[in-house]
């Protein structure tokens, strides 16, 4: 029985592109930012990722890992990923030398609907490596030319030396963004806030909660408490967004591994409105 009309010859859903490591930069312990270029520049020119989408990075023999995009290099259009060394695949990526090639499929996922947020007060909340996908939001906002009433960035880390992208905060501030940080544990010389990220929400000026958008990325417990703090400030549930995580294998909705309730995180997410997922997240081991 013939299904569908086209007769494709390549299994495009699994199509791997060669990418080459062109630079890497240490951020915080076991976290580095990698810049990759497409070996075939024509593929690179076609490649467009929205903030909040991810790529599958592949090292033969080790496998693939879903890694959020952390922005696009302004000079070259190369893809940028901030990666935490956490498993077999990311360990292998950390062993790469400049000029070596690896595989890439993507971009996948829905990304943040930034265009819908124009004229709103955007509140970005990132915990730990959760700042990596939010950096692509920050980059997009700085480059988009769209108008937002205000942008507030709340960043949490375990300790002062684990605050991701700290060297960039001044640039963000100079773009008019409000940047607040907090740490779980201080070290000598730290003059800033101590405490969990959601507590920062209580301190920010919020002229109209109905015109606020909250975008969270970090551990689930941190996102849940951030949502509660946002609701406490009067922000409507459907204006709070989470970027969720589960290990992914195919990234195209075919393998079933990243399912949460009615969603596959890879194709329906990873970005969800809080009211879409809050009941599902309350049930342990769903």
């Amino acid at each position: 029985m013939t299904q569908g009309t086209s007769a494709p010859t390549a299994n495009s859903a699994w199509k791997l592109h060669e990418i080459r490591l062109v630079s890497r930069k240490k951020e915080i312990p076991i976290v580095e930012t990698f810049e990759f270029e497409f070996v075939d520049s024509a593929v690179g020119q076609q490649y467009v990722a929205r903030a909040g989408q991810f790529n599958m990075l592949y090292i033969p023999g080790y496998g693939e890992a879903a890694i959020s995009t952390s922005g696009v290099s302004q000079n070259t259009g190369n893809i940028v990923h901030t990666i935490r060394q956490a498993g077999n695949v990311t360990n292998a990526i950390f062993r790469l030398e400049l000029g070596q090639t690896l595989g890439c499929r993507g971009p996948y996922g829905n990304g943040w609907p930034l265009r819908d947020f124009e004229e709103k007060h955007l509140i970005l909340i990132g915990g730990g490596i959760g700042m990596a996908p939010l950096r692509s939001v920050i980059e997009s906002l700085r480059q988009s030319g769209w108008s937002f009433s205000k942008v507030t960035i709340l960043i949490g880390g375990r300790s002062p030396d684990s605050l991701l992208y700290s060297a960039e905060y001044d640039q963000w501030r100079s773009s008019g963004f409000e940047v607040l940080t907090t740490v779980d544990h201080s070290t000598t010389g730290w003059q800033g806030n101590i405490g969990v990220v959601p507590s920062l929400l209580d301190r920010i000026e919020l002229s109209d909660p109905n015109a606020a958008i909250v975008m969270c990325c970090g551990p689930e417990v941190m996102m849940n408490y951030s949502a509660l703090a946002a609701i406490e400030r009067g922000i409507p549930e459907d204006q709070i967004f989470f970027s969720l995580e589960r290990h992914m294998n195919c990234a195209i909705g075919h393998c079933g591994r990243c399912q949460l309730g009615s969603y596959f995180l890879c194709t329906n997410g990873p970005v969800f409105r809080y009211n879409q997922v809050k009941e599902l997240m309350k049930i342990p081991e769903l």
Partner: protein
Amino acid sequence: MNDFRYFRIDQFPEFLKQLMQSGYRVIAPTIDQEAIVYAEIQSIDDMPQGYTDEQKPGYYRLQHTGNQRFFDYAVGPHSWKRYLFPPLQLISTSIKSQDGWTFEDHVDEGEPYAFLGVRACELAAMRIQDRVFLEGSYVDTNYQNRRNASFIVAVNCAVPSANCFCTSMNTGPKCKSGFDIALTELSDGFLMEIGSSLGNEMVTPLGFPSATEEQLTESESISDHATEQIKKTMDTTDLRNRLMGQLEHSHWKEVADRCLSCTNCTMVCPTCFCSHVEEVPDLNQERVDRRKSWDSCFNPGFSKLHGTPVRNDTRSRYRQWLTHKLATWHDQFGESGCVGCGRCITWCPVGIDLTVEVAALCEEEP
């Protein structure tokens, strides 16, 4: 109105020969290890004749009837998914280069298979997997090639098993669409319903006569009789919402105490599509295949977050399987993921019957 033809039982080899001469490799029921399984045949002698099956929860036995009938049994442990969505598939190959790797996608052009003996529930299962692999955001083109290359000869069930509940899932026992040809085994031959232009091209050269009113009536009564014999039921009324309202029901634990988390139900299910990809390097580490194989939500490592399993016990894994199959599948694909074939009941080593579990799960807790 489809075209109906008739051929005598002694003309069955002619029909088979026509399939083969048209370039198809014919996959049909055969007996292996005392069960009906789908394998390639060369002649009708390779097919079981005079067999029926007895199925109960955790029980399957073939019985020899002594008659000459070809299809008086229900479905066995195999389903056609093993040909359309093979248990092991090559995805791509990576070849070591001077500065890293180059990649070759594996293209499966699709083997020209004629599937002979596809039951109504199995047609429904194919349709369900089409939605997963062809109608979502991404198309699995290798699956599409395999699907396009196949020719489907369906068979209307005459003798359902005690584990069949296709009538509850509205998928059978009579084949309604999705086939090139559908056969009904009559007392002295086969009624042949032509369901597609491809099917018509196939049978026209055979010159089989149009079916008579008597033959059509006999076929109807066989299907009616099969429907009457199906006693197992599942109440599907608002089932999605009823199950999703019971995610913390104590009965999940009760099932988990019996469930071995062996994955049998997911392996025999004709709609289960979960998979994982593994790396298969050669000894020099210079050529690495990526191979996709069937996986199961009953495997502890199936779903992970930050390197640790999301579903730590059998309770949560059984809940994932059952609620996906019968509830969240509706949200994702617009229909149930269950076709009522009963395989998960038959091949469960401890005889867990999902129709019984669903009924218990839908009862309010005291």
